[in-house]
Symmetry: C2
Subunit: 427 residues, 2 copies
């Protein structure tokens, strides 16, 4: 057991629920269903086999941890109290979630649908293969994980927010369906819904310094140490399976994962600068030093990428103030106007989930004699990145991590077949 | 030995030189010596005992690594070639550095000064105690480390850039003195210089989840795994020494370190969001979720904090374009004007090294139903932070790292006695 104070064993506050989407998503600034195109189904949708993938609640997570640490349930309660968390509170959220899962499963059974309930840790390509459709029962993080393993655009994925009071659930159905799931099923059956396709990212990896075996960051709640260790252990177990040796140059391999939000590339250690080379749309390679690189989809343009690029009113106020002073023009600087300009700027960062373009953002570029940056962000069809990092990772949707060290080359692109088929139900 | 491909053993490119200051510093946009106050010395400065602290060159670093890995010098050459680096190139930079160190030492000896040459890994409070003044022989990273252990404002620290072609050297003397050190010594002796005091940050740590033993990030070139492991090993070795137990609440302890650039607080894993509470100038505690928190000095306002807050012309152009459209005013949008406004905005982020205020910046704040942010950045006299993190650290000047997990409380402030005494010589 890692030598940590008992106090450390209890932490996270609302993190487990929130951690799955480190940067979550925007509150609904823009009515998504009305703004982006979607299509009416040709007929009703009544799948024969549905897999329900459930999140790990914080209560379950802490239980697993205390069992591992050899603590009793009484110890668990005590430790949680010490950290200002409540055992009863965690249990309550856990029960809310499991009751909502039961509600979903019962509703499905009532319609004669064959159901397989799978914990997120057990969810794999065999489950995807078996199911006609997959329901994510959790929050946005669970939805991201569920979607990541669905490679086909014909297999629908539906997210149900099993704890609306705690989860943002931007990728999930409207919250009313959580306790009225039969209503959702009825609409699906009668074709009273629209299909929405969310364009996703595909990844090719090649070169030295790669490790095609990924790590699930959420399931494992890893410390930095465990993160690197886990990368190596899974490598040793799977090396032959993957047939790729780390110290030989290998041809580009398409990873069996699709990204719904974004790819983040950077040094694993948050205080270390990332060195890499980037080529946008087959342009010239450019050496860069920054805090990392984000490449997002339209769906992801409301998530981490949004947080990287958005401006605070404070900054907009300052820009307009300087503009006013420099020009002598009567540019308004009242709160209302600043808010208006800020909102318009920030909204311009968001684009359609169906857009076939990627959006790359260099986070905190470091410009000096050696490193330059022609464009800090922009749209592209393809982005290639060559790592010059020491101990970096490529993180998919904040949840799945691949080693990406010096010599590795990633090609990040989109293909029409990578779309995720999801369901739009009216509120 | 960590299981890494041989290819991985060779990496970093120019990182070792650059890594010491992950975010380096701005090119000299602002003539520092003329803009900020400094003071004429009352008399010449001729210390009897000088410690010269030297950086670890990349060549030395790779040598240490290959010895550890059991590789021969021939293997080293081969691996470097594979990574596109040059053994001869590294050796050349190493020789340039060591020749410059020899030049400094000879110049000091010629003046009858008692000299102790110390590698950065051996530099400690005993060396500081012994010396009348300390010379940092390396780049900005070495200067940051050297300064961090000097707690008194009476002990001068002078930086000499031992590889001007590769190092930015913003905290060092003008580059001409690297090969003409006797000239610098002469001026010091005759009082033909000015003292400059750089205000620094002091840290108090308390609560559960702290570990007052720090980790030198540069000396160890740690992977994530080694980072956490090292934190724990040093804890076990030093626990009794420090007299602080992790699982008991302890009174605030003033750390034996001062920060010249900034404190960064956040999850160690770059893709994980940081949860914490912050209180500015004894104001109310505010829960926050973000990519981390930076608190910098005037000196540091040109370093990482600058990179976090600066805007690209792209963004400024967009703001002014929106402002123009919204007001109908004839706001210029030509390249020259955008550049002017951008430069003015970015320059406003920089403040005097002698300023006794801290500047805090919340990096990528995540605003949703639960978390809000009243001010994204601003000046303060004191900032308190309570960690709600899983595996976070408090990093001083990008080089020294302290564990800072759930329950830990840091008080970040400045005191007049924390100033660093440095020397200003004319170009």
């Amino acid at each position: 057991m890692p030598r940590r104070s008992m106090a450390h064993l209890m932490s996270l506050g609302s993190q487990v629920a929130g951690l799955t989407s480190p940067h979550g998503s925007l509150p609904r600034l823009i009515p998504t269903s009305s703004r982006y195109s979607s299509s009416k189904p040709k007929h009703g949708f009544k799948p024969g086999k549905i897999a329900v993938v459930t999140k790990t609640t914080r209560y379950e997570f802490e239980q697993q941890r205390y069992r591992y640490a050899g603590l009793s349930e009484e110890d668990l309660k005590h430790l949680l109290a010490m950290k200002g968390s409540s055992y009863n509170g965690l249990l309550e959220r856990h029960n809310i979630h499991t009751n909502n899962v039961d509600h979903i499963v019962k509703s499905l059974h009532k319609e004669g649908i064959d159901v397989q309930v799978v914990k997120r840790g057990e969810y794999d390509s065999d489950v995807v293969q078996w199911a006609d459709a997959i329901i994510s029962a959790g929050g946005d993080g669970t939805m991201l994980l569920v979607a990541s393993k669905v490679l086909s655009k014909d297999k629908p994925v539906v997210g149900v927010n099993t704890d609306p009071e705690r989860s943002e659930g931007h990728l999930c159905l409207p919250v009313k369906y959580t306790r009225k799931f039969p209503e959702a099923l009825g609409k699906l059956c009668r074709g009273e819904f629209r299909w929405q396709w969310r364009q996703r990212i595909r990844l090719h990896l090649e070169g030295t310094g790669i490790n095609p075996t990924s790590l699930d960051l959420h399931e494992q709640q890893l410390s930095l140490e465990q993160h690197s260790q886990a990368h190596r252990i899974t490598t040793m177990d799977n090396q032959q399976k993957m047939g790729i040796l780390n110290d030989s140059v290998s041809k580009p391999s398409l990873l069996p994962i699709r990204s719904l939000n974004e790819i983040f590339i950077g040094e694993s250690l948050s205080s270390r600068a990332s060195y890499y080379e980037i080529s946008v749309d087959d342009g010239p390679w450019e050496k860069q030093k920054s805090s990392g690189l984000s490449i997002c989809t339209g769906t992801g343009s409301k998530a981490w990428s949004y947080n990287i690029n958005k401006l605070a009113e404070q900054a907009v106020n300052e820009i307009l103030k300087i503009g006013k002073y420099q020009t002598g023009l009567d540019i308004p600087l009242n709160r209302q106007f600043i808010e208006k300009v800020t909102d318009e700027y920030n909204e311009s960062l968001v684009f359609s989930p169906e857009d076939r373009r990627l959006f790359f953002s260099i986070r905190e570029p470091i410009v000096n004699r050696v490193f330059s940056s022609s464009r800090q962000r922009g749209f592209a069809s393809k982005v290639c990145v060559r790592s010059r990092c020491w101990d970096a990772c490529m993180v998919v949707d904040g949840g799945t991590s691949f080693e990406f060290n010096d010599g590795a080359i990633a090609t990040i692109s989109m293909s029409e077949e990578d779309q995720l088929r999801t369901v739009l139900l009216d509120n």
